[in-house]
């Protein structure tokens, strides 16, 4: 059986139309390349649209003492120093320019009294730093990029799923994808590929993430030979909705605490006093999530196993103006009026810090011609991501990945070749589950996967439990070889789920392997059997690579900061604060 396939040739193929993918496409197109961007959803609807709180950039509009040094300092500290410092440095330096560029392209941020872009406080940011639009910042960001894309020369392919990346002599050569609408296949040959497919929060049941977050691009690149790093680092956001069951996991923006919300246990105690008396509710996410979990474990949880979040003291008018989305969300979905009563919150999976290992300046992976940016890439956030840093991440490194691909085109010769037999083989693999009977149901496999991850690689971990989880995951991987689904190729969600589940399994195996190797607690990784953060582990990242079809894990040294950056951590306070103290 030989499929009739649509064929395309591009200079740069971008897989993913979230913030990172669109920003990369704009950069590559402005540099004169022929560019295509693919997305599983319609344009403007990617996961990025859900971001609420804001985008972090040291514009210093409300706190003049802020600057890139302090943003860098906060990012490294929250990442517990296993971040790629070079990424954190260019990130902190370039974020303001990327935000202002959005304003130039039509984004309309909330304003300060003197007419500048307004900035709000957020957990573990020293200064008020998050540029925002009410509680819909991600929507503003992606809409602006969508509107910009329409003015540059980029071909946008909507509702299309890439299933495999091909290489030619080790160099990235192209990808095959199918249209979700009718199951037609399209083959894209490309001189360079940028992966911008986002994270894999859907590997967990209680999650704030959209259906798209199944880690496709990271898994595809991994199979094409790329390395993954810091996979054990999965962020729990401390405040997801917990009741009713239909809404479990949906995000309660950190903006609620940013605007003064207080956390209490069932005994009415403001328990953050015990865990982080200085920063309290605005401590970093790993700390707050763990504190809520500990309170619940100790029997001081709310009726449905969470903590109380209370913002009533701010008054109805203020709450409705500053947090309109949250007010409505609780009214509509939980029959709770947050202006009148406290509400229940608990940890929910939110973000994946790990991902494709990239060069800090060009976003190049170890596979020539293959680049990665955004949530699918690892390194910037280390062991824990700061709120607001992801939207800045996708802008800064989206642009850098597009530029990196352009630079690669200039330095490389010819077009890599695609092997027709290999392409046909992949198409047959993708089609195999369709219309067959008697195999595993992809929805059931996904559910087992989520149960295994919650039980063995959740917020608290131990060696023996992780080992057991790994065995279960490997068994599931074998079972998942035999999924079948009824129906045709025409918009068939069951068939789509087969691809998603296979990708998540590949990544979950590396999450567990990384968590086993890291015999310490650091940031998001909390090992009950190794409760302390250990110096020796602060010097390494765990890296995964496929060798003969098997995931192999090894450790790589964390790159060391030059003296001038190290000095930023020896001032006795955050650089911006230390400097202004000196002036006075």
């Amino acid at each position: 059986m030989s499929e009739n396939i649509e064929r395309h040739a591009y200079d740069v193929l971008i897989i993913g139309s979230g913030g990172a993918g669109l920003r990369a496409a704009i950069a590559a197109a402005e540099g004169g390349a022929k560019v295509a961007v693919l997305g599983k959803s319609l344009l403007g609807k990617a996961h990025t649209v859900m971001a609420e709180g804001g985008v972090a950039a040291s514009l210093a509009n409300v706190d003049p003492a802020d600057g890139w040094e302090t943003h860098f300092y906060d990012t490294m500290r929250s990442g517990h120093f296993i971040n790629n410092y070079k990424m954190a440095e260019v990130f902190a330096k370039e974020a303001p320019a990327r935000v202002l560029e959005l304003e130039q392209w039509g984004a309309v941020f909330d304003r300060t009294p003197d007419g500048k872009i307004m900035q709000r406080p957020f957990g573990a940011h020293t200064f008020r730093r998050l540029a925002h639009v009410g509680d819909r910042t991600g929507m503003e960001l992606i809409r602006t990029l969508e509107q910009k894309i329409l003015t540059v020369n980029v071909d946008v392919f909507q509702e299309i799923t890439a299933t495999k990346i091909f290489t030619d002599n080790g160099r990235a050569a192209g990808a095959v994808a199918y249209y979700r609408e009718d199951g037609r296949f399209a083959l894209f040959s490309a001189k360079a590929i940028v992966i911008a497919t986002g994270g894999w929060g859907k590997a967990y049941k209680v999650t704030s993430n959209s259906w798209e977050s199944t880690g496709d691009g990271a898994a595809l690149a991994f199979r094409a030979g790329a390395e993954l790093v810091d996979m054990e680092m999965v962020q729990f956001h401390p405040t997801g909705m917990v009741w009713p069951p239909g809404v479990r996991g949906i995000l309660v923006t950190e903006g609620v605490r940013g605007e003064g919300g207080l956390l209490r246990n069932s005994e009415g105690e403001r328990f953050m006093e015990k865990y982080d008396p200085q920063r309290m509710e605005l401590s970093s996410r790993d700390v707050v999530a763990r504190s809520i979990y500990k309170e619940v474990q100790a029997g001081r949880g709310t009726p449905h196993g969470g903590a109380w979040l209370d913002i009533t003291h701010k008054g109805p008018e203020y709450i409705k103006r500053k947090l309109p989305g949250m007010y409505q969300q609780f009214m509509a979905l939980a029959d709770v009026d947050i202006t009148k009563t406290p509400f229940e919150v608990g940890p929910t999976i939110h973000y994946t810090m790990g991902g494709l290992r990239v060069d800090a300046l060009t976003c190049a992976t170890n596979v020539p011609g293959l680049f990665a940016a955004g949530e699918c890439a690892g390194g910037l956030h280390g062991a824990n991501r700061l709120g607001g840093n992801s939207l800045a991440d996708i802008l800064v490194f989206g642009k850098r990945a597009g530029d990196g691909a352009l630079e690669f085109l200039q330095g490389s010769e010819g077009t890599p070749k695609l092997d027709d037999a290999e392409v046909q083989q992949e198409i047959e693999r993708v089609l195999k589950p369709l219309g067959n009977e008697g195999g595993e149901n992809p929805y059931a496999v996904h559910e087992v996967l989520q149960e295994v991850m919650a039980e063995h690689a959740g917020i608290s971990r131990t060696g023996p439990s992780l080992e057991e989880g790994l065995q279960k995951m490997l068994e599931l991987k074998a079972r998942a070889e035999h999924m079948t689904v009824p129906g045709s190729r025409v918009f068939n969600p069951g068939w789509h789920a087969v691809q998603d589940v296979r990708n998540m399994i590949a990544l979950c195996e590396t999450i567990i392997r990384g968590a086993i190797e890291r015999k310490e607690s650091r940031g998001a990784q909390w090992r009950l059997d190794f409760a302390d953060e250990l110096d020796e582990y602060g010097k390494v990242n765990f890296v995964h690579k496929l060798e003969d079809g098997e995931a192999k894990t090894f450790s790589a040294p964390v790159s060391e900061m030059p003296t001038e950056l190290q000095e930023l951590f020896q001032l006795g306070a955050a650089p911006g604060i230390a400097k202004s103290a000196k002036k006075e």
């Binding site: 202002l100 309309v108 007419g115 509107q147 809404v247 949906i250």
Partner: protein, 242 residues
């Protein structure tokens, strides 16, 4: 709350189709989208429905529930106590399969609207009160429910003559940006056809973002057209002040 709910969901494609009944257990707090997901996972894995955020942010899950145009993820099942819940695709756009429709026409029109052309380079100085109105318009999640319900498009299928309320809101947002310099008034009067709107306000009623499409967006645009075409001097003065 009832322990079992009955949904009657349109199944079909471009060539036609019909509603099919499904019975599923009720879970507290369930929205219609959850109910459809339950059907997918347990009874019909090929039931096609678009969704993304399940939080009313992305505008993917537009459909018609018991005859009203709504977001599936924002509509609670217990709003329909003891009723069969009929779920159908948007009427105004061609069905691809089940609840999924072909909305590509909207993206074609979005592409034809002249982009933002600022007079100066960022950082801009703009007061909050001067951007309140355009922020209201930028809340749009492109669900196209207003396009679906507008009778010019729905009953008269006049897509060549009128671009619909979503496009009017997009143009209003650009036209009212304090720093924009482009002029879209000719387009509004001509190809985009703002004159076809006869202010029935049906679009405003269905907008899940609560945007006051007609009063705050379309009527001021109509005034701009009237100023320019029927009051040449006024048009000129306004242009100089923009």
């Amino acid at each position: 709350m009832a322990e079992e709910i009955t949904l009657s969901v349109f199944r079909g494609d471009r060539s036609g189709g019909r509603e099919q009944e499904y019975k599923i257990p009720a879970i507290p707090g369930m929205v219609v989208l959850d109910a459809l997901h339950y059907i997918q996972a347990h009874q019909a894995s090929d039931l096609a429905v678009r969704w993304n955020c399940k939080a009313a942010h992305c505008g993917s899950c537009s459909a018609e529930i018991n005859g009203s145009a709504k977001l599936l993820c924002k509509t609670r099942v217990d709003d329909y106590e003891d009723e069969v819940i009929h779920v159908r695709p948007m009427h105004t756009f061609p069905v691809i399969k089940d609840l999924v429709t072909d909305v590509s026409w909207n993206y074609e029109k979005l592409r034809q609207i002249p982009a933002f052309q600022p007079a100066v380079n960022a950082p801009f100085t703009m007061q909050q009160r001067d951007v309140d109105r355009i922020q209201e318009f930028r809340k749009c999640i492109e669900c196209f429910l207003c396009q679906n319900i507008c009778h010019v498009l729905r009953e008269h299928d006049a897509k060549d003559a009128y671009w619909g309320p979503r496009m009017m809101i997009r143009m209003a947002e650009l036209e009212m940006h304090p720093l924009d310099t482009a002029d879209r008034v000719d387009l509004l009067k001509g190809a985009a056809g703002v004159g076809y709107c006869n202010i029935t306000k049906c679009c405003t009623v269905v907008c899940p973002q609560g945007i006051n499409i007609t009063d705050n967006g379309i009527i001021p645009l109509k005034e701009r057209v009237a100023d320019k075409y029927f009051d040449p001097l006024g048009g000129l003065v306004r242009k100089m002040h923009k």
